[in-house]
Structure formats: structure tokens, C-alpha cells
């Protein structure tokens, strides 16, 4: 239990004034070097902490502090951890998932938002925050008519600050790119890292799929769309360096699978891969246990494991330690390295979420598209 909570209850049941004062004076959840104490204030039949950390129970009960409407749960959490959570509150026989009312820090994702616990030692990287000194890139919409997938597809294309058509640029194609922009500060990160000369000025095509669980799961028409339609369109519209070492694919979760699959289907095309928390499920024997949506993923990853080929020259792979996919991501590393691919791998005390993927972008992008840091002094 956190010292502030111990102090509150040290002399028995605290009165209402003491509780109000405690709630006003503290930041929640209560953070200490040895862990974190989650606190809920209010009437309820039960309150559970719901978080998605592999190895921990999905729901952990908060305990009511005798004689009060305060509920608390202490969790050991290593320094530097980041954890997204909700409370499951049960009142009048009904349960509902709610954000932590005492915690203003939230992370958005395509499904809504979660409360965020930033454990002792976690600091949001400054390069993910808007830097007033940095020049800003722009976003242009690109419509691509797709035979492979049928119909029109949209991409938002990031052009770096001081973009010049007389110059040629590296290209990065990002799966779930619009989510990266919305939930992982991709535009701010690109602006900042380019401004700091830590990555090369590059063109970034942010793609979006209306049916990502199908199209990103080792789906040949999607790979064909990326290479034969989107890339071709980008070549026509923008000045690209257009060599394998200046072409990259990026994605998280199923987007990581789509990136690897596309590079595998078109060897020699993409010399750079940025794979975050890839859903690289496989089965050495027997059935996998991840549900039908993973069937095509497992089929592809099993094929890849049998014949990895040479999908790229250089890769950055990251995964959260608190993800169920950590084993699969660790397993893919020797396959890549054995082929002579230069791989940087990073683990974080985080889970399967957009802010984890946000916080790893500097390491990944600067490894794949290094900037002129040593030579340029503006």
C-alpha cells in the first residue's frame, strides 16, 4: 500500500474531511518505486482493476477500506512501466467498465480510451510532444484506384517540412497509418525527429484498411495493392529515391503481419521494416489457440518460418513485455538474423497499445532511416 494511503488509515477509519483532503492532495493512481496503488472513491458492490497484461489476472479486485467509500489495490510494477486500464464497477447488480475518475491521464485508441498508469520512472519522451521550434510537415490526400482490393483506397501522405520536388526522398508506407497519426503522434514524431536531424526527411504514406483483420492477415491482394498500386501511384506523384534501402514498411499488431507478409511476397522491394508488436502467431504442431481470425496469420507465419527468404535488409522489431505476443516476437528474431538481416530489437515495460508504439518510434525510425545528425549544423 502506498504511504499516503497508509497515513490516511493509520489511526483507524478516516473521517469524510480527511478523505476529501486526501483525494484533493494526491495524484492517482498513487505511484511509488515499488509499485502503484489504484484508488476508487464511491459506492459500489465491487470494483475491479481491468488491465491487459499478459501474466496477470485480467480482473483484480480492489478492496474497500473499512468504514469508507474508498477502494484500493496495490500492484507491484517495475520502474519505467506503462499500463492502460479501466475499472469494472458493479452497482445494483450491473457491471460497467469505466475510466478511472481520479486519473486525468488517458490514452485514446480506435475503441475509445483507457486510463493510463505511468509507473515510477516512466517519462513520456519529449520528442513525442509538440516542439514549437520544429518545422512542420504537411499531409496530402492520395486516392488510389485498386483492382487488387476493389474500389478506391485513400492514403494520407506526409511530406516533410521544406519538401522540394527537386530532391528525392525515402519512402515509408505505414499500415493503420491514420491510427498512428491519431493515437501515436506520428506526425509530431516525424516533425521532431526530422527537425532534430535524427531521421532523414522522408515521405510517409499512411494507409488505412476498412477490413484490417482480413486484409492484414497474410492476404495476397493486400500485398499486391501495396506494391503494384499504391507504390506505383506514389512513384508517379512524389520524388522518391526508389531503391530498396530507401523503401520501408511499418505496422503494429496485424499491421506488422501485413508489413512482413508484403515484404516476404516481394523480396528485394522493401529494404526497411519497422514491426511493432507483430501478431506473429504460429503453431509448431497442433492447433493454435488464438481464434479463427488468426487462422490466415498462423498459416502465413508457419510458411514464413519454414522458408523466410530474404524479405528485407534491415529491421526494427519491438514488443511490450506485458503482451501475450512477446514470445512470438522473440521467436521471429533468429529467423531474421539467420538470413543476415540487420535487426534491432527492443522490449518495453508496456503492452499492446498505441502509446507503446509511439514511444518506440525514435529508435525504429532512426535505425532504418538515419538522419544527417553528425554532418548538419544549421
Amino acid at each position: 500500500m502506498h504511504a499516503a494511503l497508509r497515513a490516511l488509515t493509520a489511526h483507524g477509519t478516516p473521517d469524510e474531511a480527511a478523505i476529501v483532503s486526501f483525494l484533493r492532495a494526491s495524484k492517482f493512481p498513487l505511484i511509488a518505486a515499488d509499485g502503484v496503488t489504484f484508488v476508487y472513491s464511491g459506492d459500489a458492490e465491487s470494483v475491479h482493476l481491468r488491465c491487459w497484461i499478459s501474466g496477470l489476472a485480467a480482473a483484480q479486485p480492489l478492496e474497500r477500506i473499512d468504514g469508507t467509500s474508498l477502494w484500493a489495490r496495490h500492484l507491484e510494477l517495475p520502474p519505467g512501466s506503462r499500463l492502460e486500464y479501466k475499472f469494472e464497477r458493479r452497482t445494483q447488480g450491473k457491471s460497467e467498465l469505466i475510466l478511472d475518475p481520479l486519473n486525468p491521464v488517458q490514452a485514446a485508441d480506435p475503441f475509445g480510451a483507457n486510463s493510463v498508469c505511468q509507473a515510477y520512472g516512466y517519462v513520456r519522451p519529449d520528442w513525442t510532444l509538440d516542439d514549437p521550434q520544429a518545422r512542420h510537415g504537411t499531409l496530402e490526400e492520395l486516392q488510389v484506384s485498386s483492382t487488387a482490393l476493389g474500389g478506391q483506397r485513400r492514403a494520407l501522405v506526409y511530406l516533410p517540412a521544406r519538401f522540394r520536388r527537386t530532391r528525392r526522398y525515402p519512402l515509408l508506407i505505414v499500415h493503420d497509418g491514420e491510427d498512428y497519426l491519431r493515437f501515436a503522434s506520428l506526425r509530431t514524431v516525424l516533425d521532431n525527429l526530422i527537425h532534430r536531424l535524427e531521421i532523414a526527411p522522408l515521405i510517409v504514406a499512411c494507409t488505412h484498411s476498412p477490413d484490417r483483420l482480413r486484409e492484414y492477415a497474410g492476404y495476397e491482394p493486400h500485398a499486391r495493392f501495396i506494391v503494384e498500386e499504391l507504390l506505383q501511384s506514389l512513384r508517379v506523384q512524389f520524388p522518391l529515391e526508389d531503391t530498396p534501402d530507401t523503401r520501408g514498411l511499418m505496422g503494429a499488431s496485424f499491421g506488422g503481419v501485413a508489413s512482413l507478409y508484403t515484404a516476404w511476397r516481394y523480396p528485394g522491394m522493401f529494404g526497411r521494416l519497422l514491426l511493432q508488436s507483430g501478431s506473429f502467431a504460429f503453431s509448431d504442431f497442433g492447433e493454435h489457440k488464438r481464434g479463427a481470425v488468426f487462422d490466415p496469420v498462423v498459416k502465413f507465419v508457419n510458411q514464413f518460418r519454414a522458408a523466410p527468404g530474404l524479405p528485407t535488409e534491415r529491421a526494427y522489431v519491438s514488443c511490450g513485455i506485458y503482451e501475450s505476443l512477446i514470445y512470438e516476437n522473440r521467436s521471429i528474431l533468429p529467423l531474421l538474423r539467420d538470413r543476415g538481416i540487420e535487426v534491432r530489437y527492443e522490449e518495453a515495460r508496456d503492452a499492446h497499445n498505441w502509446e507503446n508504439w509511439r514511444d518506440r518510434q525514435r529508435a525504429g525510425l532512426s535505425w532504418l532511416f538515419p538522419g544527417p545528425l553528425w554532418m548538419v549544423y544549421e
Binding site: 521550434q133 521544406r162 522540394r164 527537386t166 530532391r167 525527429l193 535524427e198 525514435r362 529508435a363 532512426s366 535505425w367 538515419p370 544527417p372 545528425l373 553528425w374 554532418m375 548538419v376 549544423y377 544549421e378
Partner: protein
């Protein structure tokens, strides 16, 4: 030689206009923005800041044209760059070990007399390495010059003459920052310091680095790789015994006393001077006159304001 002013970065809060006014300089001005490469000559912000017309000498563009016209020279140039790059990698390899040794010795506790001697030897090893690297670079440049005889090559001579005419009509030369290797390289190709024809020169960031006798590259927290400070090349030597450090506040850990001590001692007797936004250093005939907004890295690990 006339006056040389070295300034910090001119992005967002430039001080060029104030410096130009204080020096009593009036147009016409010429600029060198070869370090901006494909953005060379995009002077709108500079002109607006100065409220004066500035003619860019197009050193980068002219160099590219020279290489197009003189393919033999282009081949020689590429070979030299390749040799320099290979030598740089060999130097970096040795530097990593020498720097790590120095760092460990400056952080270690022990008998003061023994440590002092060991530290002195470690700094001497860095000195030797830097000087040997510079000497090897100098040899490569000398051999290149002997092979190519630059001033007598028609394409080079023609470009240099055109530049010379613009400079003669100007009252000052401005040299912008950018890619220091490209800038230095192209300046050397078309005439080096002789291009400035004794006109007052005001240079910032990479432009300032290119005018010194030793160009050092540095960054203490790169996202990838080692954070060695490395000697890159000799500059054009308009200013001597000075190592200028643009963006030092963001690129260097100046609060790390051991780091500052090693840097100051490694480059002594040259002075290591920061060049952050607003900084200004004045030189005449290569001698330091005055400075504002700059700090000197001291042998004891502290920083001192530069004023006289």
C-alpha cells in the same frame, strides 16, 4: 585578412542583422549557402531579416556543373571521398577505445599523482590520434591537388572567376550553416579562403565551423551509435586554434564535468567555444577580439562566459 564573425544558429531568433549593423556593414552582400544543398539560394528569410538584398554565389550548383563538365575531376573527387570515408571509419574505431579509456580514467578514484599521469597519457593518446588523422587527411588533399591541379582546370577556373566578380562587388560575405562536409568540400573545390577576397565574413553554424582550422563533429546523445566527438577535417583556417560548437546546448552534455574536461584538454591549446542561438565571436586577422553569448569549455570541467 579582414574581420570574421562567427555566429550561432540563425533559425527562429537570428542575430545576423544586429551583428551586421554593429560592424557597420552595408550592402551589397553575397552569400554562400552550399551547405543547404538542394535548398541553396532560398534566401527569402535571410533577406527579410536583413531587409537587404543578398546575392547567393550558388557554390553548390556551380560545383555540380563543374563535375558535369569535367568528368575526370568528378572521378578523382569520388575516389578522394571514398578514401576519406574509409579513413574516417578506421579513425572512429580507434577513437572509441581511446575515448572510453580517457572517460574511465577521468571518472575513476585513486591516488591523485598516479591518476594525473594516467589521465595525461590518455589525453595525449587522443591528441596523437586526432593529429595523425588530420595529417593523413592533409596528405590525401595534397595528393588530390597535385593530381588535379584545380586552378588550371577550365571548368573550375571559369566558376571561380564568376564567383570572384560577385565577391569583388560585395561589401561582405555571409556563410550559412547546413551540411558542413558539403560546404567545406565545395568551397575547397572552387578556391577555398581565396574566394572571400579579404572581405568581411559573417558565418554561422556549419559556416563558422568551416572557417576554423579544425572541424570537429559532435553529438552526445544520438539515437543510434556512439557519441564520440571526432575530428573531421581541417577547415579554411581563417580562424585558428578555435573549435566552435554550434547547438552545444542541445548537442552536448555540458553539465557533465568529466566530458567537458576531456574535451577542453583534448583540443588544447585550441579553445572549445559554444555557438548557441544569439552567440557571436569576433576575430581580426585570425585573432580573437571579443565574444558574447558564447561559453568556453575549461580544463577543470566548468564553463566560462566568453567576453574578451
Amino acid at each position: 585578412m579582414s574581420s570574421v564573425s562567427l555566429l550561432g544558429p540563425q533559425f527562429r531568433t537570428p542575430n545576423l542583422r544586429g551583428v551586421v549593423a554593429a560592424l557597420g556593414l552595408q550592402g551589397p552582400f553575397v552569400s554562400i549557402s552550399a551547405g543547404w544543398q538542394e535548398r541553396e539560394g532560398e534566401l527569402d528569410e535571410l533577406r527579410a531579416h536583413l531587409d537587404a538584398d543578398v546575392h547567393d554565389l550558388r557554390i553548390y550548383e556551380r560545383s555540380e556543373r563543374v563535375f558535369e563538365q569535367d568528368t575526370v575531376l568528378r572521378g578523382e573527387h569520388r575516389q578522394r571521398q571514398s578514401d576519406l570515408q574509409e579513413m574516417r571509419e578506421l579513425y572512429q574505431l580507434q577513437l572509441t577505445h581511446a575515448k572510453d579509456t580517457a572517460r574511465e580514467l577521468f571518472e575513476r578514484d585513486g591516488s591523485p599523482a598516479l591518476l594525473r599521469r594516467a589521465r595525461r597519457q590518455a589525453i595525449a593518446a587522443l591528441h596523437r590520434l586526432d593529429h595523425a588523422h588530420l595529417a593523413a587527411i592533409s596528405t590525401i588533399h595534397r595528393e588530390f591537388a597535385a593530381r588535379t591541379n584545380l586552378p588550371d582546370r577550365p571548368a573550375v577556373a571559369s566558376a571561380a572567376a564568376q564567383i570572384g566578380r560577385y565577391v569583388q562587388q560585395a561589401n561582405a560575405v555571409f556563410i550559412a550553416g547546413g551540411h558542413v562536409a558539403v560546404l567545406l568540400n565545395r568551397l575547397r573545390l572552387l578556391g577555398g579562403a581565396a574566394l572571400f577576397a579579404d572581405k568581411p565574413v559573417v558565418a554561422w553554424s556549419a559556416g563558422a565551423m568551416a572557417l576554423t582550422d579544425v572541424v570537429a563533429l559532435f553529438h552526445d546523445s544520438p539515437p543510434q551509435g556512439r557519441s564520440n566527438v571526432e575530428v573531421f577535417d581541417a577547415g579554411l583556417c581563417l580562424v585558428n586554434r578555435v573549435i566552435v560548437l554550434p547547438h552545444a546546448a542541445t548537442r552536448l552534455h555540458l553539465d557533465d564535468a568529466a566530458r567537458v574536461r576531456i574535451l577542453a584538454r583534448r583540443f588544447a591549446p585550441a579553445r572549445c567555444l559554444t555557438l548557441d542561438t544569439g552567440a557571436e565571436l569576433q576575430f581580426s586577422d585570425g585573432h580573437f577580439l571579443s565574444g558574447t553569448g558564447s561559453r568556453r569549455l575549461r580544463r577543470d570541467g566548468s564553463l566560462a562566459e566568453v567576453d574578451t
